[in-house]
Symmetry: C2
Subunit: 247 residues, 2 copies
């Protein structure tokens, strides 16, 4: 709740990791934009969220919606992620990310990459993802504000939410195949990861994303993020990492 410099805690690696997990494990977000033709009135709505291979959040939106019309006129926006759990809604960690939005051209390489990852994360979006009025926007984080619960506020740079690794493209190229392999030959691994690293119950977890910084896990309506301690430096490290995590 407190973002005033005087009440901010020093941003450490633990805070950065929590912020990344809050962003990368969110299925949806509240997005704040500037409403067009209103002299700057803020407008907040809900959007489905995905994550590109470099950690950049992406949204899938309809051209008919106010937020899309707003972003087309003013690319500045802000995302809120972090689920409300039991007890006081303000006791749960949440993240505000202020971003610059950029529309993704349909049928570009970037579009195809984002689309593939998005559908794995939101299988039902396949029903409308190719409708002509729907488009992806990449939202590049400029800065962020983490609220870890009462009195635990941290300021972050946009860079803190970006994945930096020379392996990003190589991993993106093999992601679908690697997920298929894990699903068919090591079906129990995802549930084991979810339990060991994400405090998640159940045995029907599946991997829905693999990037240089971690693993996305899905089970029904639940999405979890397993964040590595350090990003992989080459695609060849993926296999050993997945074996090591299996324990």
């Amino acid at each position: 709740m407190a973002e005033n410099p005087s009440v901010l805690r020093e941003t450490d690696d633990e805070a950065r990791k929590l912020a990344r997990i809050l962003l990368r494990s969110a299925r949806s977000a509240a997005i704040a934009v500037i409403e067009p033709d209103s002299g700057g009135f803020p407008f907040v709505s809900r959007v489905l969220l995905g994550i590109d291979t470099d950690g950049t959040p992406v949204i899938l939106v309809s051209a008919l919606s106010t937020h899309t019309q707003a972003l087309s006129a003013d690319s500045r926006c802000s995302l809120l992620t972090g689920e409300i759990g039991k007890g006081d809604p303000l006791a749960h960690p949440r993240l505000t990310v202020q971003c610059e939005a950029e529309k993704v051209e349909r049928d570009s390489e970037v579009h195809n990459r984002i689309r593939e990852r998005f559908v794995r994360r939101h299988p039902k979006s396949e029903l409308y993802i190719d409708f002509p009025d729907f488009a992806f926007f990449r939202l590049t984080p400029l800065k962020a504000s983490l609220n870890g619960g009462f009195g635990r506020a941290y300021a972050l740079d946009g860079e803190d939410l970006r994945i930096r690794s020379p392996a990003i493209d190589d991993l993106a190229a093999m992601e679908a195949r690697a997920i298929e392999h894990m699903t068919s030959d090591h079906a129990d691994a995802a549930s084991r990861y979810a339990k060991a690293y994400c405090k998640a119950e159940g045995t029907d977890w599946r991997i829905c994303g693999l990037d240089a910084a971690g693993v996305d896990l899905i089970s029904g309506d639940q999405l979890k993020r397993l964040e590595y301690e350090e990003p992989l430096k080459s695609a060849g490290e993926l296999r050993m990492m997945l074996i090591k995590l299996y324990g």
Copy 2:
């Protein structure tokens, strides 16, 4: 998702009722504000929500938070309410309300009234509600946008979310007593209301608000709103209404 005039449905009483319930049953909301000193960058965060006796949403915020500093510089804001349930996050109804914020002076009559209602709705807020840096803001709705799920978008006026009745003040004056009476002498009524009118399970519901337009029901982390078909016209009608609803 669609607020463009060409895809809006005609706003009917059912849409208005759904919008009121989405606002009045929310424990928290995402709030969009204009960040100070950033040239108009939108900022979204989470706030605890209450409702004043005339239906005006109220928030309890710390002076140290970005949203409070923003509202002090620019009173325009936007609230998003409506919980995410099972399945696609966008299949669930949600409401965007654009508001004008006004700080409530501490120890004013309005402050005392709002504080009393707020504590009943958020019992744990009593721990910090009187801290010197905390304050209430009343957020007067100017207009709203209801999204009832895919393709079901409606535009509403601020007035659609206001309670209009000559009984507001009389009911406010007797609210605490009436709740106490219902709790001590008709303890089962709240759970009966919750089940019959709010599709809620469980037997530990309590009434936490009574106003001219309906009843607020609370059970642990859950909050439900029973909205009357028409607002009460006098405080004397409350008793008969509660008996009638009991069935």
